[in-house]
């Protein structure tokens, strides 16, 4: 039941996303990105991303339409996140592998032993 509701929610989310994506590529993109003027062939490529990320697209579109400029952001936060990600993976990956190996079902016993063990 929960799985079914989840699937329905995802379908609804994507449905709304697709409608907004079409509005975006037909009516809005020219107003927010000068590099899109006169460029049409690339627009279908945007549809999957616009559909999947429509809440983010909505926020960014409103910001662009209001003429908000993007502050010059420092990139150090991303570089630090990159370092943290690999430190995290350096712990997660060995732990996952050791756990997986220790839980692994023993390989099948040789035939002769299994015959002897049989009731």
């Amino acid at each position: 039941m929960t799985a079914h509701l989840l699937v329905l929610a995802v379908e609804a989310y994507l449905g709304v996303g697709l409608v907004l994506a079409l509005v975006f590529v037909f009516a809005l993109i020219d107003r927010i990105d000068p590099q899109a003027h006169g460029a049409h062939a690339f627009r279908p490529l945007l549809l999957p991303g616009l559909t999947l990320l429509w809440p983010l697209v909505l926020v960014r579109t409103l910001a662009k339409l209001r003429g908000m400029t993007d502050p010059l952001a420092s990139q150090r936060a991303n570089l630090a996140a990159h370092r943290m990600a690999w430190l995290g993976l350096a712990v997660l990956i060995p732990v996952a592998l050791v756990l997986a190996w220790s839980l692994k079902a023993p390989t099948e016993a040789p035939q002769s032993i299994r015959i002897g063990d049989a009731p």
Binding site: V7, Q35, G38, F42, A85, W86, A90, L92, L99
Partner: protein
């Protein structure tokens, strides 16, 4: 670096890159099917081959960055890394669709519902839900693939786009969990691939990070507020040195025709390391994808519009001193001419 978007800005090297990659994948899938251990039916073989190939590709694509930092000869691999990523996602999606079509297609619940509630762990792991790890990883890879066009970089801003694409590391962690508690439990062939790839990749990233972290960072000296960047003779003609600051973005100081200019070390495209690039045709050229910037104002030559921050330099004897406060991107600064 385009004035009008196109679906894909093909170049000969991109075509060669993609052709080589696709040929490599085809060979791998063929070899996997040919040398597969144990009698399995065609469909199960296809699922395993695609899964194994996707894992290998994801490991490789994540290895390109650190390899290029360790040795410049790997830079050509980085040039078209986005296509590599999209192809990886396509193979992973092929694996998921093959699973869906084989194991869940005829479930009375419907294939998607059935996949979410399935318990197909084996041995001690019966009940360990490894499939959701795979679904989550695939979703992340999909988001990255569908936002790989340059439009997204400009629409989301490079900072947000980069942050979003850091999700690839979460995807890799999830894929390792998916494989460790799934395929690795049942198939010997995966043991070596997963262990070597995953641990090798971690070691590679830690080693590169360790090397980067050991590079000295400079702080501004009081009361001038200037940073001693280097000696005049330290910078080779047409090249740069990179000044890493304690609490600001790194700066690249270039020498061109004997004159010095300082700009951000981070490319406006995808934060590539500009200071590791060269001056070509009078412009700083990014080693990653070739974006160019003028030395005196950090602007891409017309008709392109990208801009990076510039910095002011001073000369004290033969000591090059840097003012670490960035000028707004595109600000003209007269190149420093040593006497």
């Amino acid at each position: 670096m385009s004035v009008k978007y196109v679906p894909v800005s093909w170049t000969t090297s991109k075509k060669l890159y993609d052709a080589g990659l696709i040929a490599g994948i085809a060979l791998y899938l063929l070899a996997f099917s040919h040398f597969a251990i144990g009698a399995v039916d065609d469909q199960a073989l296809r699922i395993r081959a695609l899964g194994s190939c996707a894992f290998l590709l994801l490991s490789l694509v994540l290895a390109i960055g650190p390899l290029a930092r360790l040795d410049r000869r790997f830079l050509p691999l980085l040039y078209n890394r986005r296509h590599f990523g999209v192809i990886t996602c396509t193979i992973a999606a092929g694996h998921a669709l093959a699973v869906l079509g084989w194991y869940f297609a005829f479930s009375p619940l419907g294939p998607y519902d059935a996949m979410l509630v399935a318990d197909i762990g084996s041995g001690h792991l019966r009940g360990v839900p490894f499939i959701p790890f795979g679904i989550a990883a695939l979703l992340i890879l999909l988001v990255l693939a569908v936002t790989s066009h340059d439009f997204w970089l400009s629409f989301l801003t490079p900072k947000l786009w980069k942050a979003l694409h850091l999700g690839v590391y979460a995807a890799y962690g999830l894929v390792v969990l998916h494989v460790a508690f799934g395929a690795l439990q049942a198939q010997r062939a995966f043991e070596i691939e997963v262990t070597v790839c995953a641990l090798g990749l971690v070691a590679l990233h830690l080693w590169t990070g360790f090397r980067e972290g050991r590079k000295p960072r400079m702080a501004a000296a009081a009361p001038s507020g200037l940073v001693h960047a280097c000696k005049l003779g330290d910078i080779a003609e047409g090249r740069a040195i990179v000044v890493r600051l304690t609490d600001a973005d790194p700066v690249a100081i270039f020498r061109h025709e004997g004159r010095l200019s300082a700009v951000s070390h981070l490319c406006a495209h995808q934060n590539g390391p500009l200071g590791e690039g060269r001056v070509i045709d009078g412009c700083i050229t990014c080693p990653w994808h070739g974006f160019q910037y003028r030395l005196e104002d950090g602007r891409a030559p017309p008709p392109f519009t990208e801009r990076i921050a510039t910095y002011r330099l001073h000369l004290t004897g033969d000591d090059v001193m840097l003012d670490p406060s960035p000028n707004p991107p595109g600000t003209y600064v007269q190149p420093l001419e040593p006497a």
